[in-house]
Symmetry: C2
Subunit: 176 residues, 2 copies
């Protein structure tokens, strides 16, 4: 079966700081037309930083869209033209104050492929040494060191509510 | 540390079919103001349907935002006022043609808490019996039965690119 949709028109709705919204008109495999509301996003990285003592550095951050603070792994948005490996190193140091000797790619995921072009590159960071934290203005982040076993328990018990964090913890813990 | 942000203003940018975009002005814990671009979304469900023969029913679907067809578990958006349990049963039958004797909640995640209010309720479905498929207009979905061991291999090898699918497979496979 041919699944591909072909874009035959596009309308820009909003050009914001982080989000850009457009409505595409597509031709379906059966010849009919449909509309697709698409958020254009630059992409992002996330990092599972595992310390020598077996704890994972995580961040607690208020997420307005979720209406609560969530426990997540360090993450951030790609700068224009930025290499994901470099972005992972930068975001890790900015959010946690640590640098990694080794940053190993884990996977790449689309968090919401139904409506956002965002793709997240996930990494496992080991060999951590102190650098310096440098949070973006308006970023309120609390650093938490979570033991590996506790992180796994939380992931399997439904206590991790951020999708990228849940994916990355479960994959990383299987590869340590 | 107080992490909460307080909304002091909101501007509606777009009211679409699936997406609604607004820009909120928030007061940060330090007293400063900042803007938050927020996609308001009704929420969704996803289901890991495990057959008696140990295969998982998955769907291959073209995702315009990802520019490719992705292998995912059955999923769909909540109707206004719809109970997530009922939505999971409905979407499972619509997308796969199967009904489940047992639908067990696995977890609830925010796929993109940085900018979308979408929350996905994930379920494990067992005791599958034939019902009838009934895809939405414009939905082109190919049904695939994936052996449990192959699904786990793909998840750990980075071959699952959809975040909800990666989370749900890894959690479900640990609870079977």
């Amino acid at each position: 079966m041919e699944l591909k949709e072909t874009v035959i028109g596009t309308e820009t709705i909003y050009d914001g700081k982080i989000l850009h919204l457009r409505v595409d008109t597509v031709r379906l495999p059966n010849g009919h037309e449909s509309k697709r509301e698409i958020v254009a996003h630059k992409g992002a990285v996330c990092v599972v930083p595992v310390q020598a003592d077996g704890t994972i550095l995580m961040v607690r951050q208020f997420r307005l869209a979720a209406g609560q603070a969530l426990l997540e792994i360090p993450a951030g948005t790609l700068e224009p033209g930025e290499d994901p490996d470099a972005c992972a190193a930068r975001e890790l140091e900015e959010e946690t104050g640590y640098r990694a000797t080794t940053l190993r790619p884990l996977f790449r995921i689309y968090p919401t492929p139904g409506y956002s072009t965002e793709r997240i590159h996930a990494y496992l960071a080991t060999g951590l040494t102190p650098g310096r934290a440098n949070l973006d203005a308006g970023e309120n982040v609390e650093l938490v060191a979570v033991p590996t076993a506790e992180a796994e328990r939380m992931a399997l018990a439904g206590e991790i509510q951020d999708a990228k964090t849940l994916c990355a913890l479960l994959v990383a813990l299987r590869s340590l």
